[in-house]
């Protein structure tokens, strides 16, 4: 049984990697077939939560992932409505996960995709990400917990799938309500229905396999369990092969698409992202997937990322290809402090 499961997660990783390369070919920004952070940020822009003209588009990939996870959870009788495990703390953690991700310019998934495109800055990001996870693991070992969730009514769990469905209807039927970038990454997009279908497939597979970027490194270190890390590796290998096949592999630090080469801040941004994600129990991708399966705590985390992304652009904290901003550096430092305080305050050993 364990063998069979690994086949599925390798297959899932391979599909994600190849789909990412194809989405770029079909119009998505370079090395950004998928990026949960970027796509939530674009969606925040489309909804006018921020007004950065280059990053506004309601990305169907995100909508598809949440709905794909929802459908798979229903089919597998795994739609399990729960919530109430420190929702406000999760909101704040997710907010700063986004601040860290937009310092680096990518969620952990895009980090792997950037690496597979030859962007060596992502290697620095990966080291930072792993360091953040190691710090998070130390707190988990000390008894870090955001406390129990409780069972909730079906409607609570249906909120997120319904909200993204409404968003999709608006995107297709009433696009004038939204804002769309005319230049920059937000203007680069694969056809709506292709993006939706890819999102649905990836969402369904990610739900089934529990694919998680942060869980990969965490479980390998904590339990010597390499199951999730296998998925992470499969994405990298598939995207690498795909990029070579498309002639889209360009190794180097300089001039990488939608990236900057400030080592220190790439490292710190991803360290914040990794640490915050461990404390949340999963990477941004995993939070999206869980939000489709009835997990209200993850739905709150997705909203935290949405608001975080809006703040990043409203207050000049998001990096660009020109590099990090002063506000972004302050945001990452504040984020590291806040997240560490949350980690310490929730790590008191209970009973024995």
């Amino acid at each position: 049984m364990a063998k069979e499961k690994k086949t599925l997660i390798i297959l899932t990783g391979a599909i994600v990697g190849i789909a990412a390369v194809l989405l770029v070919k079909l119009g998505n920004p370079p090395n950004m077939g998928f990026c949960i952070a970027c796509f939530i940020r674009d969606t925040a822009g489309a909804l006018k939560l921020h007004s950065a003209p280059v990053v506004q588009y309601a990305r169907p990939e995100i909508i598809g992932m949440i709905l794909g996870a929802f459908a798979m959870a229903l089919a597998g009788k795994e739609f399990n409505v729960r919530g109430g495990s420190s929702p406000m703390t999760r909101f704040v953690l997710a907010f700063f996960v986004m601040v860290g991700a937009l310092m680096f310019l990518g969620c952990p998934l895009r980090m792997v995709l950037r690496l597979a495109g030859g962007d060596l800055n992502a290697l620095i990001g990966l080291v930072g990400f792993a360091c953040g996870i190691l710090v998070g693991i130390a707190f988990l070992k000390k008894g870090f917990t955001l406390k129990k969730s409780v069972k909730l009514g079906t409607l609570e769990g249906a909120m997120m799938p319904v909200i993204v469905t409404v968003l999709f209807v608006i995107l297709v039927a009433f696009p004038s309500l939204l804002v769309f970038s005319e230049e920059g990454p937000g203007s680069k997009r694969a056809p709506i229905f292709v993006a939706l279908i890819v999102g649905l497939v990836v969402g369904a597979l990610a739900q089934k396999t529990r694919l998680c970027m942060v869980g990969g490194i965490r479980d390998a270190v904590l339990f010597k369990d390499f199951y999730l890390l296998t998925g992470f590796a499969a994405i990298f290998v598939a995207a690498l092969v795909g990029n070579f096949a498309m002639g889209a592999f360009h190794a180097g630090f300089e001039g990488q698409p939608i990236a900057h080469n400030d080592f220190v801040w790439n490292f710190l941004g991803m360290a914040l992202c990794g640490l915050g994600s461990v404390l949340l129990g999963g990477c941004p991708l995993r939070q999206c997937i869980l939000s489709g399966t009835g997990n209200a705590d993850s739905a709150v985390a997705v909203l935290g990322m949405l608001v975080g992304a809006a703040f990043c652009h409203n207050f000049g904290m998001a990096s660009s290809a020109d590099g990090p901003t002063a506000h972004g550096k302050v945001g990452v430092i504040v984020g590291l402090i806040v997240v560490l305080v949350i980690a310490v305050m929730n790590s008191q050993k209970k009973e024995a």
Binding site: A2, R82, S85, L140, T145, R210, R218, D219, L222, F223
Partner: protein
């Protein structure tokens, strides 16, 4: 038998709770509320060479026994 109630805790806390309980001796019963921790604990048991069985309760939770 020692029972660990890991229902409601998010990933990876149920596995850490299981790990701590197993250190104190077997057999251990663990209650969880979804298939995710069941599968996580199943891999943990596999790595440690423990025998695992589980049943679904009337409330839709899962009762895992490790020995």
């Amino acid at each position: 038998m020692k029972t660990v109630d890991a229902r409601g805790y998010s990933c990876p806390e149920p596995v850490i709770m299981t790990q701590n309980a197993v250190k104190e001796g077997l057999p251990v019963t663990i209650l969880v509320d979804s298939m995710t921790p069941v599968k996580n604990i199943s891999r943990f048991a596999g790595n440690k060479g423990l025998k695992m069985s589980y049943t679904e309760t009337d409330e839709g939770d899962f009762e895992i026994v490790l020995e």
